[in-house]
Symmetry: C2
């Protein structure tokens, strides 16, 4: 069985061919220019390399509710030219195979859930701290979503009184993403995350906000595991600080699995997204449906 | 079909007999004293008034995960004498009928979901703002829960810089419950909620925190509806203020149903809990199982 993967990002699209074990045999990177050019290049790739089904993880926001008119669309994105683009519809018109459609963060979550840091657990919260903060929740094997997909990287947390930084989120100012994303670190401290590695003040503050996110996700979902990825999390010194702050903030109010297992770093690294796309394509074939979300 | 309901609170237990339409024909209130006395009185009631199944909504925290040893227990409650009480086990020992077991807030959520302010929607967030803040989430007909039940009344929100009140939560200080529960209002302003009805400063601040909760729940669950109950919400002037603050805080980041339908007050009032218990008892019978959670 040959499976296809599309990781659609705001800078580049990565197309992959692989199998149901998540092994990728071929890959193509396509710069994200205009929808007409980029999507045509994606279709060309899969016409030259036929597959039985494709899983797509797209930047967003995207429409994932089949009952809404924007199903399959990239919706209100700030990415110029990509607003209200019927990505899924274009693929279905040109490629007559089953296609699974979800967010970029969800496909990475699914990769970690099936073959990475969360295999063998039932309920997962996965989030990524990088240019933005995105979260995906897998509940009993399925993505948690409703009227829209989740946007739990933008929840409000307690803006520490000793932190006078206003936050960088263009929508909410000091939501979680506004306070704790890579750009927030860089603007607050004047240097990118990797240049700040030796400054403990930076990581104590960052860990406080990420721990608050973990507390809110724990209270909101009661998952079996929280897996954290993204560029900022390359600062591995964060993990013990996050666990410590989490324990202190939660204050024993509810129980969780043991913290070293409960809060973990991503295991598949850059492969998580493509792996998730391949496995979702396989699941879709098994379901007998031609489109999934 | 005769169905039973137990709303188990920290002050009183309410036992009810009713039918699958949610109609209650008989009721008994039993003061919450010691487990031995109170639970025996509950069993007496149902031995005198036999039913085909019972739904229980209990104060907590409680164990709802059948894979854990504390399943069926009231666990770490501050209520003296009730810690580590095997409530469900006691009922099952004395009453040989199917019993559904969940939290007090979940049974009220289920009543609203089936017959109240959220009938005809798929995904519901219900929360209650009173002595504490409790939340229940119904996702595609089932309670969202995992390692434990949810505790989303204790999430962190942004403690407003112009609000120097420390918060009343004994665990977290200024979590949502700490900032916005009835006791928080009373301690911050020196009078109970109903005595503050005419003071707009109180309700602007309260609406801000409740709206932050609605934003976080929207981003975390993307439900079709948010229904709010509890003693503080008897201040009906809160609802327009909450919708206005919600709109401003969310800042168009994701879409929701129209706000007057999206954020609503409870419809069944004090009957929501008993109604939910009866319907959960009926569902359990239909499922063919003898215990549910």
């Amino acid at each position: 069985m040959r499976l296809g993967a599309i990781e659609a990002g705001g800078t580049k699209f990565v197309c992959g061919i692989g199998d149901e074990t998540g092994q990728v045999s071929e890959q193509l990177r396509i710069p994200t220019t205009t929808p007409a050019v980029t999507l045509a290049a994606v279709v060309d790739f899969f016409q030259e390399h036929p597959v039985d089904a494709i899983g797509i993880g797209s930047f967003g926001p995207i429409g994932v509710n089949p009952q809404h008119r924007d199903f399959g669309y990239i919706t209100q994105t700030p990415k110029a030219g990509w607003e209200n683009v019927n990505f899924l519809g274009y693929m279905r018109t040109h490629l007559n195979i089953p296609i699974y459609w979800t967010t970029d963060v969800n496909v990475a979550a699914y990769g970690e859930y099936r073959l990475g840091a969360a295999k063998n657990v039932e309920n997962l919260v996965y989030f990524t701290v990088g240019t933005g903060i995105g979260a995906g929740v897998i509940y009993q094997g399925h993505f948690l979503q409703g009227f829209n997909h989740l946007e739990a990287g933008h929840i409000f947390v307690n803006h520490r009184p000793d932190d006078d930084f206003a936050g960088v989120c263009p929508y909410h100012g000091d939501c979680l993403e506004g306070l704790a994303s890579g750009p927030a670190l860089e603007q607050r401290f004047g240097q990118p995350a990797q240049a700040l590695a030796a400054n403990p003040v930076v990581w104590e503050l960052e860990a406080d906000y990420i721990a608050q996110a973990c507390v809110n996700y724990t209270l909101s979902y009661s998952p079996d595991r929280i897996v954290i990825g993204g560029g900022v999390m390359h600062q591995e010194q964060l993990f013990p600080l996050i666990r410590q702050a989490f324990k202190s903030q939660l204050a024993g109010y509810t129980t969780t699995p043991e913290l070293n297992s409960y809060i973990q770093r991503i295991a598949l690294n850059d492969d998580a997204g493509l792996t998730g796309c391949l496995l979702l394509a396989k699941d879709l074939i098994d379901s007998g449906q031609t489109v999934g979300a």
